[in-house]
Amino acid sequence: MYTSSDLRKGLKIEIDGEPYIITNFEFSKPGKGQSLYRCRLKNMVTGNAFDKTYRSSEKFKKAPLDERKMQFLYNQGDEYHFMDTKSFEQYVILEENLQDVIPFMVDNMEVDVLVFHDNPIGVTLPNFVNLTVTKSDPWVKGDTSGTDTKPVTVETGFELQVPPFVEEGSKIQIDTRTGTYITRVKE
């Protein structure tokens, strides 16, 4: 259990059976008035946010969250299947909750899954992943367009800008937080 004085930015609490993270926090105390704890809370499942001011007498449940290593197995339509690498238990996460990671996720990749009451609610990828370029227009020597990058498509279908020397079939490292090219990877 937390009390109001434990509230701070980044704390995860459970409200009405759902996990919330405090994304903004301010302690306020108007002159001669009571202590007020002003929070912006974001629902960790739906992403919905709201502001709420608490008094000092409030109590909060810690959100039962844990992070587990899982392997991405395959997807069937919009159902993505993962396996806990410790318990070998399998979980399904819907595509709509994976929008940020799908462009960088390939079969057998190991990922961190945030689990709330045994329900997986979010996936975090490694900061850098290596993906194969599946489509790239050959670079025409003497191209005078003046650009120093060209678009390519990687095995997940994600498109990004890379230096002209990257060819179809080569492996490249991508920063999953920004979706940008880092370097060519030698096999």
Binding site: E26, S28, P30, G31, K32, G33, Q34, S35, L36, S56
Partner: protein, 299 residues
Amino acid sequence: MNLHRLQQRAAIIQAVRFFFIGRSYLEVETPIRLPALIPEAHILPLPSASWFLQTSPELCMKRLLAAGVPRLFQICKCFRGSERGHRHLPEFTMLEWYRLDGQYQDLMMETQEFLGDLAARFKGERGYDQEIISLLGQPDWQRLTVQEAFALHAPISVDRALADDCFDEILVEHVEPHLGRDRPCFLHDYPTALGSLAKTSSTNPAVAERFELYIGGVELANGFSELTDPVEQQGRFDREADLARAQGILFGDVPEKFLADLARIEAACGIALGVDRLVMLLTGAQAIDEVVSFSPETL
């Protein structure tokens, strides 16, 4: 620890002293450890053996008024438990000044002169927040009654907020953010229930002659015409004491000697101003931690 900020803090405190000494205020030091404090519903005193650390120097300073000191000021440490935020420390520095001649309007004027004087001193100096300094240098500071401010900025009236027990929330969420943006703002005439030591207005018995100063949405000082009727003060203490006790707050016995001395004051006014916040404002510091030598977490 930020050496530059500490140097600025020292310069500001020097300027504060210079102003009050120039106006014939006597600088005093009163005990910070007391056997009994003013009962306040929302302030948690910290015990020190069987006594308490002061939450404000108000008691002893008013007793000095009663003893005949006509004008006095003090810069001292105050302690309030469970208060920590980017503008709050459980141990902080307070400036309080009191005078026998005058009421809260005089004090508003003097506060403006004081902060205008400070602003002039640091105008154009590198490392000081020139935007705030020009705000403080404005000639016409705003005066808004609590009722007017709620009518302007809040979704409900003061009376509704008091009846629904959400005055503090509405004030903090809807009113305070707008106060003192273009020029400093005195929010004044608080509902009597919210001014335990303030004199009831002679023109409107529903409000107390109390004000808070806001600069850039930040509350900096709280002043009032002092309530000097010991019987009424005792009654208000009893009410506050019940509220405080209901929350498990300890503050010692009723400060009897203070009540006895109060009878010897005919009229007075006084104000408390947060020195750490003043330094934050003038230097543009974003957190109170930046303007003190050590915050509790670094000890």
